[in-house]
Symmetry: C2
Subunit: 238 residues, 2 copies
DNA sequence: ACCGGCCGTATTGTTGACAATCGTCAATCA
DNA sequence: TGATTGACGATTGTCAACAATACGGCCGGT
């Protein structure tokens, strides 16, 4: 017990920090987010307070607090006296979100281009190469999070933490697209060429070029989504 | 009771809808937001659960739920076992927020320009005229919300509700700038010329022109804020 | 067979009580 | 005198109980 600082301190430090900062509600919140993003809870499904509180062994208060935060985050919808439901995002709202995301991505490109380092360019290039390796049509499960990470990393590199928060919140919500296929089809079946153009544009260190590359990328993703919508719903009237 | 629909129905409808949708926590949440935005609670101040629950005559749970939502909205900061504090936004974060807002405003201009109607252009012009009337240096209290409303209305006119939600959340947070003067000096002491340019750009119905006008406006607001910061803090070192 | 009202169950809304933690202040000791 | 420890008050974290509401089935009437 003499040199407890050698290896024990670290875990103790993290444990202390954990207890000091983490409340039950925030843990519950993270768990529910995990369940939603992993698909364990589908969009539109009802989430009962007791089911969660019982499963996690906590009181209902903590669950209710988590629900309130999740509603503000846009992941669930609270109907008074009826319950909480995982939010569904219809086609029209999805289109709106694509537009906002395009604006955020454009901003990210504009901010990052003048300040990107050579090391960061290398990192992004390696990322694109890795994506290339998983382009096989049956490798969605791997390609999908890797693609998200690519775009997230670009926003992260801007150094603008507020932008990162807003961006991540939006991406989280976009997981709730009523038909997930649209998200994947829209953002995913993209040939990797666009990703390479993005990195090239960033490497040019010209803000306008990078901004345009980002915007075009998201816009073409939106177009692919809309095409998927059109083929899926034959639009009876209007 | 025969024609109860004539005047009774409306109030009954709204009352019913109110009861069906409004929970205590959401009322508490709105009240706290009002207190924060009105300055009744300054940035950095501690907000005690019992003080609120006692004042509003509700249980602490409702207040706690409201706090959780407000934290997710970025208006308060929760420190476990210590309390909730109205969030303070430092100069660096303020600069980040200005950048994000510039991106959102640019997007709004880009979306609105191609679809703006003649009536909407008229409305904005009248708005600018009204702003002009309150440009006196001692009319901040009137000019300030009017200016906010002008920009809010532009975003609203885009018809993109998601953008409106994201935009409003950001504006709400920007009220928490540590020194409010920065927000006012940054976004307010602007000569009305820039506002006229914005409307003119929108009236041209050219997306790129409108986007640039919006972006430049926010950027010059940011520059004014930074200038105010520099004069206020003589930056001792580095 | 169908419609409307009644009732029981399940779930949520709200409150109050209890436990845990933090900050402060005074008392003690070097 | 200064620092450290202990106890106290205040505040928050969590839980369990009670009240209110909504959903579904049953029943009687037509």
């Amino acid at each position: 017990m003499t040199d407890f600082r050698a290896n024990g301190s670290d875990t103790a430090q993290t444990a202390i920090g954990f207890l000091r900062t983490t409340s039950l509600s925030s843990l519950v919140q993270e768990e529910i987010v995990r369940m939603i993003l992993s698909g364990e809870l589908d969009a539109g499904a009802q989430v009962k307070e007791f089911a969660i509180s019982d499963r996690l062994g906590v009181g209902r208060s903590s669950v209710r607090e988590a629900f309130r935060a999740l509603e503000e985050a846009g992941l669930v919808r609270l109907e008074k006296n009826r319950g909480v439901f995982v939010r569904e995002i219809g086609d029209d709202e999805a289109e709106e979100m694509y537009a906002v995301r395009a604006g955020l991505d454009e901003l990210a490109g504009r901010l990052l281009a003048p300040r990107i380092t050579a090391a960061e360019i290398d990192e992004l290039r390696r990322h694109v190469d890795e994506l290339e390796a998983w382009l096989a049509p049956d490798a969605f499960a791997t390609y999908f999070p890797l693609n998200l990470r690519f775009h997230d990393r670009i926003v992260e590199m801007t150094g603008n933490r507020k932008l990162l928060v807003v961006y991540r919140r939006l991406i989280n919500e976009m997981h709730l697209l009523r038909r997930r296929g649209l998200l994947r089809g829209g953002g995913l079946l993209v040939s990797n060429d666009e990703h390479r153009s993005i990195v090239d544009a960033l490497a040019s260190r010209d803000a306008d070029t990078a901004a345009a590359a980002m915007r075009d990328h998201v816009r073409s993703g939106r177009d692919r989504m809309l095409a998927a919508v059109d083929t899926a719903t034959p639009r009876s009237a209007a």
